[in-house]
């Protein structure tokens, strides 16, 4: 009798010990992960900023700073939606094409109907395209990367058909001044990107929807089992990705003043690169809006620096590819570090 209760006590004690141990391991893993995650963006950001100031002439001139802030802001807005989708363990390869459709729609409708209806219809078009992505992924169960690869082609075709392959000039000067005007010396697109980013940060970090979204990304099966409506969350995330691509498309149209159907080709790679570089894991389950914002500015700095140094634009492809591979290596190193903490160094 006494023996059995002692054995039980021992068992309880060992279970508790086991729990403490695993909690400690979990905390250590989380610390290591967040350290790597922060280093992954802050170190390159500081290095590039320093290199830019030292090596590139007129890197700190007012016009270059404005230029970098505007370009970084437009990329960041696109990448916020992508952050959501990637945190969900999905992907949206069609952002560049959605953005082209939005920019073309906004150009044509601003010319036809004026400022506000034009902007609204551009964003609405992008939301419809995002919704279509979401429906194909959730209702037809097509894997996200293949669904959005197909819609990348489809939306590009739509954009080219819509403009008939010719550039569209925007005549409305009020619209064209949106991207170039500033408030208290800060460019309007940059302010917009901070505001939208704050909204996304709030949704991801502080709202139930954000917690559910990260849970779905961590493990879709467990999320389903704990009663989360996975398909609804996926659908909303793809709509958000479409909407942010559209908003960025409006700003881009305003910045350029003239749009065409092949606008933003290859944007998906930049968006994915900044999202992953910002510390959002390709394996899902973690979103980092602040990192995405910083990484967008980093990419804008790199591009501006290469431009000022008169490097041919082909090299920007290479820079982007290297940056992406670096970001993904950090991502997989991060996951390996976490795995090591849990499994020991045996494997």
């Amino acid at each position: 009798m006494l023996d059995t209760s002692k054995a039980q006590l021992d068992a309880v004690a060992s279970i508790e010990h086991e729990r403490e141990e695993s909690a400690r391991r979990g905390a250590r893993a989380a610390r290591r992960q967040s350290l790597l995650q922060k280093l992954g963006i802050i170190v390159p950001f500081a290095l590039v900023l320093l290199a830019g100031i030292v090596l590139v002439p007129s890197f700190l001139s007012a016009s270059n700073i404005t230029n970098m802030l505007v370009n970084g802001a437009i990329l960041a807005i696109t990448a916020y939606g992508m952050t959501m989708v990637i945190a969900l363990r999905g992907i949206d390869l069609s952002v560049g094409s959605s953005q082209a459709v939005a920019a073309c729609v906004v150009a044509v409708s601003v010319n036809a109907w004026g400022l506000v209806p034009g902007i609204l219809s551009g964003i609405a078009a992008a939301i419809v395209l995002g919704l279509l992505n979401g429906v194909i992924v959730t209702k037809f169960r097509v894997p996200a990367f293949i669904a959005t690869l197909a819609t990348l082609g489809i939306y590009r075709g739509v954009a080219l058909l819509f403009t008939d392959g010719a550039p569209v000039m925007i005549t409305d000067t009020a619209f064209r001044s949106i991207a170039t005007s500033s408030l208290f010396g800060i460019p309007v697109p940059f302010i917009l990107s901070v505001l939208v980013g704050a909204g996304f940060w709030f949704v991801l970090e502080k709202m139930r929807f954000g917690k559910h979204l990260v849970a779905v990304g961590g493990s879709p099966e467990s999320a389903t089992d704990s009663g989360i409506n996975v398909k609804r969350i996926q659908l909303i995330a793809y709509i958000a990705a479409g909407a942010t691509a559209g908003l960025a498309g409006v700003l881009l149209a305003s910045q350029l003043g003239s749009v065409n159907g092949s606008l933003s080709t290859g944007l998906e790679l930049q968006a994915i690169a900044v999202v992953v570089l910002g510390g959002t894991s390709m394996a899902g389950g973690r979103g980092n809006i602040v990192g995405t914002f910083l990484a967008s500015l980093l990419l804008a700095m790199i591009n501006a620096g290469l431009n000022l140094l008169n490097v041919p634009s082909f090299y920007q492809y290479i820079a982007l590819g290297v940056l992406l591979v670096f970001a993904l290596s950090v991502d997989s190193a991060q996951r390996a570090a976490v795995r090591r903490v849990f499994e020991g160094r045996v494997a």
Partner: protein, 337 residues
């Protein structure tokens, strides 16, 4: 008839004895509905536009089939192994530019060999990134797509490399009867790919790791090594497609194959290879490539804006995968991340 069904469905030949001719035909039609679709599309468009049946147009279709099909032979191996390669356009550009650049200095055989070796090396880069840096295949190869494109822009300085060798053009564009050499190459390559996939231990490893990578590892198969090798084989196939495209266009440039990856993947998937991995049909892949060639030439003939081709290809791809997902419900898709 039995050979074609054996190529696509090795299992069915064992289970379905050919009792009567009609049942054989019916089972062939139900398995190979795609052949019927291609034939119907071909005949219908031909009836509307009689010039569609012209020898020149049929040859155009066969050329188009060959370019996409040769690349798709590599892609079907990758998709069967649960992998994917989006860098097709980059590999084609680099290898075609290589051919165009070295042709004036060497003979045709060496130039083609060089292109294929370069393709295999680029495939090696992809394979190492996926296998040892452990980056998801579609994202690693999306990155290398732009790396390879950037490299080819830098190599050519954004200019077009012209292919002047008339012997090379003859080798890549002549035909026996009405069958162009590239198409004959496709047939040979398809037979080789089929043999590789279903008659060798390497192919068995590919199929095993496509259906369950962990199980394949536990069974003692060399999964990592096979992954790298299959990326190299696929890269060589893409490069071969690039060689023929360079001959057909008499030139090579960085933008020559932009967007071809979607057509290649679509041909494989429409042919009946599941994106989940584990099994692949080479015959279906060739027919899939032919379907897109017929569709694109039909749209041309009917005077539809070429922008519609983006839309049609994408829509067919989504529908094919959606139908496959419906048939195989609740299936977790591999290679997605």
């Amino acid at each position: 008839m039995t050979t074609t069904s054996a190529i696509t469905e090795p299992e069915t030949t064992r289970t379905a004895p050919t009792s009567s001719v009609t049942s054989t035909i019916l089972s062939f039609l139900s398995h190979q509905y795609l052949v019927v679709v291609v034939a119907v599309a071909f005949i219908v468009v031909g009836l509307i536009k009689p010039s569609f049946f012209g020898a020149g147009n049929i040859q155009n279709i066969l050329f188009e089939t060959a370019f996409v099909g040769i690349a798709a032979c590599g892609m079907v191996l990758l998709i069967t192994a649960g992998l994917l390669d989006l860098s097709v356009a980059g590999v084609i550009a680099v290898s075609a530019i290589a051919v165009g650049t070295v042709l004036p200095y060497t003979n045709i055989g060496m130039a083609i060999l060089l292109a294929v070796v370069i393709g295999a090396i680029l495939g090696l880069v992809n394979g190492l990134l996926v296998t040892y840096v452990k980056i998801a295949p579609f994202i690693a190869t999306l990155g290398t797509l732009y790396l390879f494109l950037g490299a080819s822009f830098i190599w050519t300085g954004g200019k077009v490399v012209t292919v002047t060798s008339s012997n090379f053009r003859a080798l890549t564009t002549d035909s026996i009867g009405f069958l162009p050499y590239p198409f004959l190459t496709l047939i040979v390559l398809a037979v080789l790919t089929y043999s590789l996939l279903y008659r060798t231990s390497f192919g068995r490893t590919l199929r095993a790791m496509g259906s369950n990578q962990r199980a394949a590892e536990l069974a003692g198969m060399r999964v990592n090594q096979s992954k790298v090798v299959v990326f190299m084989v696929a890269g060589a196939c893409f490069a071969l497609a690039g060689v023929f495209m360079a001959g057909r266009l008499s030139s090579a440039e960085a933008n020559m194959a932009t967007g071809i990856e979607m057509g290649v993947i679509a041909a494989v998937v429409v042919g009946g290879t599941s994106l989940r991995g584990g099994r692949g049909t080479v015959f279906g892949t060739v027919i899939g490539a032919m379907l897109f060639a017929v569709l694109s030439k039909s749209l041309n003939m009917l005077g539809v804006s070429s922008y519609w081709q983006y839309i049609v290809t994408g829509a067919v791809l989504v529908i094919a995968v959606a139908v496959g997902a419906r048939r195989r419900s609740a299936a977790e898709v591999r290679g997605a991340g």
